[in-house]
C-alpha cells in the first residue's frame, strides 16, 4: 500500500464539475492508466481517493489537493505521468509526492485556502485598497448565514486571514486567505457577501472569476502547503 498526494488544477469549463464529478473523473483516469487503486472493504467498495477540501461548483483552482491510495509500491512521478496522459490539459496533476500511509487524513489538516477574485472593469484600485483596509480594521464583520434572517448573524472577521487588492493586466483582483476546513470555514461566496454588505464592493461591480490558488495546513504555528 502506498499513499500519494497530488496537487491538480481544475480550470476552464471543468470548474462546473461538482466535487463528486471530480472524484469520479480522477478515479476513472487512474483506472484507465492501469495503476492499481486501493479499495475500501465492505459491500460497496470505493476507491481510496480523498480531496482535501471540496470546491464549490463554478470556481476554478490551481490547488486541488488529494490523497490517493494504491496497492503496492508506486512512485509519485509515475502517478503524475501516467494519470496525466488520461486527463485533459485543464485537469492536469502538477505535483505528486509520497505521504506516510499512517499520516492523519488530509481533510482534517486543512486550515486555510487562498483565493483570487477577479473583478469586472469599473472598480477603482484606490477605493478598493481603502475599503479592504478599513474592513480589516474592524473587530467584527457580521454575515447573515440564512436568507430568511431567522439565524443570528455570525462574526466572520476571525476567519479572514489576509485580504489585499492587486492588479493583473488592468484587471483588479482581491487576494484572500480564508479559514478553511472542519474547524473554521469561510466560503469564498460568503466573503463576497461580506464585501457587498460593508460596501467594499458596489453593486455595479461583479466578480468575474474566482480561483483557488493554494490550500494550506498548519505546521508549527505556520500555514504551509500540504505538498
Amino acid at each position: 500500500m502506498s499513499r500519494v498526494r497530488i496537487r491538480m488544477r481544475k480550470l476552464g469549463r471543468y470548474a462546473f464539475l461538482s466535487h463528486l464529478d471530480m472524484m469520479r473523473a480522477l478515479e476513472r483516469a487512474i483506472r484507465r492508466s492501469g495503476l492499481t487503486l486501493a479499495y475500501s472493504e465492505g459491500f460497496h467498495p470505493h476507491a481510496r481517493i480523498s480531496f482535501a477540501a471540496p470546491l464549490a461548483v463554478g470556481i476554478t483552482s490551481t490547488a486541488e489537493v488529494a490523497d490517493i491510495e494504491f496497492q503496492g509500491e508506486i512512485s509519485p512521478s509515475e502517478v503524475l505521468e501516467r494519470v496525466n496522459s488520461e486527463l485533459p490539459p485543464e485537469l492536469q496533476i502538477e505535483k505528486a509526492g509520497s505521504v506516510d500511509p499512517r499520516a492523519p487524513s488530509l481533510m482534517s489538516e486543512i486550515a486555510a485556502a487562498r483565493y483570487t477574485f477577479s473583478l469586472s472593469p469599473g472598480a477603482d484600485m484606490h477605493c478598493l485598497e481603502n475599503g479592504l483596509r478599513e474592513l480589516l480594521e474592524r473587530d467584527e464583520l457580521l454575515l447573515a448565514k440564512s436568507q430568511a434572517g431567522d439565524e443570528e448573524p455570525v462574526n466572520v472577521r476571525p476567519l479572514i486571514i489576509e485580504l489585499k487588492a492587486t492588479k493583473d493586466n488592468q484587471i483588479l483582483q482581491i487576494q484572500a486567505c480564508l479559514a478553511t476546513g472542519a474547524k473554521a470555514n469561510l466560503r469564498p461566496d460568503d466573503l463576497i457577501k461580506v464585501l457587498r454588505e460593508y460596501r467594499v464592493l458596489q453593486q455595479d461591480i461583479s466578480v468575474a472569476q474566482i480561483q483557488r490558488t493554494e490550500l494550506l495546513v498548519e505546521r508549527g504555528g505556520r500555514l504551509v502547503p500540504p505538498i
Partner: protein
C-alpha cells in the same frame, strides 16, 4: 454561421454559472471526438431530445457516434435538450442550440439526427429545432438548413412527427447511416433539397413523408399514394449478423453522473418471447446473438478505454442469451481482479436468473426486480407472458434465500380482456410474495419483518405493430378506478404500491397511435409551452388537452378507441417485417387465452420476419438455450 470559441466563452461566462447541473452543457469528456471542422465534408449532429444525463445512457448514441467518426469524410458531434432553466438563459442571451464538442451552432451542421425513443419527447424535438433557429416544419426549410432525420423505435409510427422530420430511418442504424452519409456527402452542396430527399427515399428503410399523400376517414386510412420513386411500403433495415458490425470501445465517459453510467455490451438484438403487448418484442425480430468471446473482448476493451467499474450486459432479455453461462464464466475471470461489477439489467422470472444475479452481484445487493406483468394466470396467458405463479414463487424464494430483502414487481393494468379479478390478482400475488419472503427469511434465521415488496403498475398502452394494436385503452376514469381497487386490496404495510399518472398514459397512447393530423397538436402544445412531457414535474396535461381541442381532435378517440381489424391503420405503410396476419392471429389467440411459444425453443410461429427481411435467428451456442 459557426460561432465556435466566442459562443463557448459566452456560455461558460454568462449562462452556466446560473443553471442547475452545469456539467451537462460543457462537453470535454474523455473519448469525445474533436475533428477539425474543415477536415471533413459532412457534419452530423446527433440530437437526443431529452437531457444529457438520459441521452448519454443510450446505447444507440454510442454506436452511431463511433461509426460516423470512424469515417474520414464525416464527423459526429452531440447535442441534448437543455433543461428549462438553461433554455430560458439561451433564449435570453440569444445562444442557439449548440454541439458539445466544438460549441458550433446546430444550424451549421449538414444533418441533424434525432432519436425518437419515446413519444413524450416530441415537443423537445420541436423546441430543439426552434432553439437552433431552424424552421420546425419540414416544408418551411430550404437548402441553407440542415437535413433533419430521425430514427429509433417511435418511428415505426412516424406520422405524428411527419410534418417536422425530413426523412425517417426505420430499423437498425449501423448500415444505413453510411448509405445516408454517402448520399448527403455527394449531393448536399450540388443539388436542391427536394432532389436530395428523392435520392434518400431510394435507400431501403428511409421514409420521406412529403412524398406520400394520405387521407383519413375516422381513425383509418381511406386513401394512400406514394410519389413516383418513393416506395409504397417502407421495409425496415435489419443487420443480419451482429458479428459483422463494429461496436464501440472508446465510448464517451460522462463527467456528470448519468442514468446508466457504465460500460455496456450488447448480447443480442431482438426478442421472440412474443409478449403481445410489447412493441420491442415485435419490431426488432429475429434474435441475433453475438458470440460470448466477442462480447467478452468488447467488454474488456471498453472497460480499459473508459475506466468504468461496471459493465452491463444489454439486450431485451439478457437471461435468455443462449451462452449466458459461458459468458459469465469468461467475464468473472476477467472482472474480479479488475474491481469490475457485471450487471444483468433484465431478469427473467425464474430461479435460473436469480442464480445468475447472485453470481454477478455478490457485492452490490439492493433491490431485485421481476416483471410478471399480470396478476393472474388467465391474464398472463392472454398477454403471452410465459411465466407461472410457480416460476415466480421459486424465483422469489431464491432471491430472499440469497439475501435480497426488497423485491420490485412490475405489472400492467388495463390489459385487454381484464376483469376486476385480474386487478385484485395483482394484490393477491404481492401478498403471496411477501408471505413467501418472510417464510424464507425466517427459515434462514433472519428477521422476517425486513421483507418488502414494491409493486409498480403501469397503464397499458396499445402500441402500433403489436397484436394488441387494435384494442381499446382504458379511460383515465377507469384507470383511476382500477388503481383504487388495487389500493384497497392491499392489506400489508410491507407492500408499497406506485402507479403511472393516467394522463401521461392517455397522451402516450394518443401520440403513439396518432396519424399525420396529430402533428398540429404537437406543434400547438409546444407553442403553449409543453416541454419534457415525460417528466412528472414538467408535464402539463391541461395544455395538451387544450391543444387537441384547438385542433378539433379528441385524444380519447385517438388514444383509447378500439380499431377495426379490417381497416388500414395509419402506420400500416411502415413494415416491421412481421405480417399483419400474424399480429391478428396472435390477437385471436389472446382472445382464446392461448399461448404461443418462443421460436428459439420451439417451431417457427410464422411471424413472417425471416422470409420478408431475408434474416434468420442467430444463436451463438447452436440453439442450446435455457428455457
Amino acid at each position: 454561421m459557426r460561432l465556435g470559441t466566442d459562443l463557448e466563452r459566452k456560455i461558460l461566462n454568462d449562462l452556466l454559472p446560473y443553471v442547475k447541473k452545469p456539467g451537462r452543457y460543457i462537453g470535454g469528456e474523455h473519448n469525445s471526438v474533436h475533428k477539425p471542422w474543415d477536415s471533413v465534408r459532412t457534419h452530423f449532429l446527433f440530437a437526443f431530445p431529452d437531457v444529457y444525463d438520459v441521452g448519454m445512457s443510450y446505447l444507440g448514441l454510442r454506436i452511431l457516434y463511433h461509426l460516423i467518426n470512424q469515417r474520414d469524410d464525416a464527423l459526429c458531434e452531440r447535442t441534448f435538450a437543455p433543461w428549462p432553466d438553461m433554455e430560458s438563459l439561451m433564449r435570453h442571451h440569444g445562444v442557439p442550440l449548440y454541439s458539445l464538442e466544438s460549441f458550433t451552432s446546430a444550424a451549421s451542421f449538414d444533418i441533424i439526427g434525432f432519436t425518437l425513443q419515446y413519444e413524450l419527447n416530441y415537443t423537445n424535438v420541436l423546441n430543439m429545432l426552434d432553439l437552433a433557429g431552424i424552421p420546425i416544419r419540414s416544408s418551411d426549410r430550404n437548402e441553407t438548413h440542415p437535413l433533419i432525420i430521425a430514427g429509433g423505435p417511435a418511428v415505426y409510427n412516424p406520422e405524428p412527427m411527419a410534418d417536422f422530420i425530413d426523412a425517417f430511418v426505420v430499423g437498425d442504424g449501423e448500415e444505413v447511416i453510411h448509405e445516408i452519409l454517402d448520399v448527403v456527402s455527394e449531393n448536399r452542396r450540388s443539388t436542391d433539397r427536394l432532389t436530395l430527399l428523392r435520392y434518400l427515399a431510394k435507400i431501403e428503410g428511409i421514409y420521406v413523408p412529403r412524398f406520400y399523400r394520405i387521407q383519413y376517414s375516422g381513425l383509418s386510412v381511406s386513401g394512400f399514394s406514394a410519389d413516383p420513386g418513393a416506395p409504397e411500403r417502407i421495409v425496415p433495415r435489419r443487420v443480419k449478423d451482429l458479428e459483422n458490425v463494429s461496436f464501440p470501445d472508446k465510448v464517451i465517459v460522462p463527467l456528470v453522473e448519468t442514468v446508466h453510467d457504465r460500460a455496456m455490451v450488447e448480447l443480442f438484438r431482438g426478442c421472440t418471447r412474443g409478449c403481445r403487448f410489447c412493441q420491442a418484442g415485435m419490431v426488432y425480430r429475429p434474435v441475433r446473438e453475438r458470440k460470448p468471446e466477442t462480447v467478452r473482448d468488447q467488454a474488456i476493451s471498453q472497460l480499459e478505454a473508459t475506466g468504468y467499474d461496471e459493465v452491463s450486459l444489454m439486450s431485451l432479455s439478457s437471461a435468455d442469451y443462449s451462452a449466458i453461462e459461458p459468458l459469465i464464466n469468461l467475464l468473472l475471470q476477467e472482472c474480479g481482479r479488475r474491481q469490475v461489477a457485471v450487471s444483468l439489467p433484465s431478469l427473467r422470472v425464474d430461479s435460473f436468473s436469480i442464480d445468475l444475479a447472485n453470481r454477478l452481484q455478490e457485492l452490490r445487493r439492493s433491490g431485485i426486480t421481476f416483471a410478471p406483468e399480470a396478476g393472474t394466470q388467465r391474464m398472463r396467458d392472454i398477454i403471452n407472458k410465459n411465466v407461472t405463479e410457480e416460476d415466480l414463487m421459486e424465483a422469489i424464494g431464491a432471491a430472499f434465500a440469497n439475501g435480497w430483502t426488497t423485491v420490485k414487481l412490475y405489472f400492467m393494468i388495463g390489459l385487454p380482456f381484464e376483469t376486476d379479478d385480474d386487478v385484485r390478482g395483482i394484490a393477491e400475488l404481492a401478498h403471496k410474495v411477501i408471505d413467501r419472503g418472510r417464510q424464507v427469511i425466517r427459515e434462514s434465521g433472519g428477521n422476517p419483518g425486513r421483507a418488502r415488496v414494491n409493486v409498480t403498475v403501469a397503464s397499458f398502452v396499445p402500441k402500433p405493430h403489436t397484436p394488441f394494436q387494435w384494442v381499446k385503452q382504458d379511460s383515465r376514469q377507469e384507470f383511476r378506478r382500477k388503481i383504487d381497487l388495487l389500493r384497497r386490496s392491499i392489506r400489508s404495510r410491507a407492500i408499497k404500491l406506485s402507479w403511472n399518472d393516467p394522463d401521461i398514459s392517455l397522451l402516450e397512447a394518443a401520440l403513439s397511435r396518432g396519424d399525420r393530423r396529430v402533428g398540429k397538436v404537437i406543434e400547438a402544445a409546444w407553442s403553449s409551452g409543453c416541454r419534457f412531457d415525460g417528466w412528472d414535474e414538467l408535464f402539463e396535461p391541461e395544455k395538451w388537452w387544450r391543444a387537441f381541442e384547438a385542433c378539433g381532435l379528441d385524444p380519447e378517440q385517438i388514444g383509447c378507441a378500439e380499431r377495426d381489424v379490417d381497416a388500414v391503420l395509419p402506420w400500416d405503410h411502415i413494415s416491421t417485417g412481421v405480417s399483419k396476419s400474424f399480429l391478428l392471429a396472435e390477437f385471436r389467440r389472446a382472445e382464446r387465452g392461448e399461448v404461443t411459444p418462443d421460436c428459439r425453443f420451439s417451431r417457427c410461429t410464422g411471424c413472417g420476419v425471416c422470409p420478408s427481411l431475408g434474416v434468420s435467428t442467430v444463436l451463438s451456442s447452436g440453439g442450446d438455450a435455457h428455457v
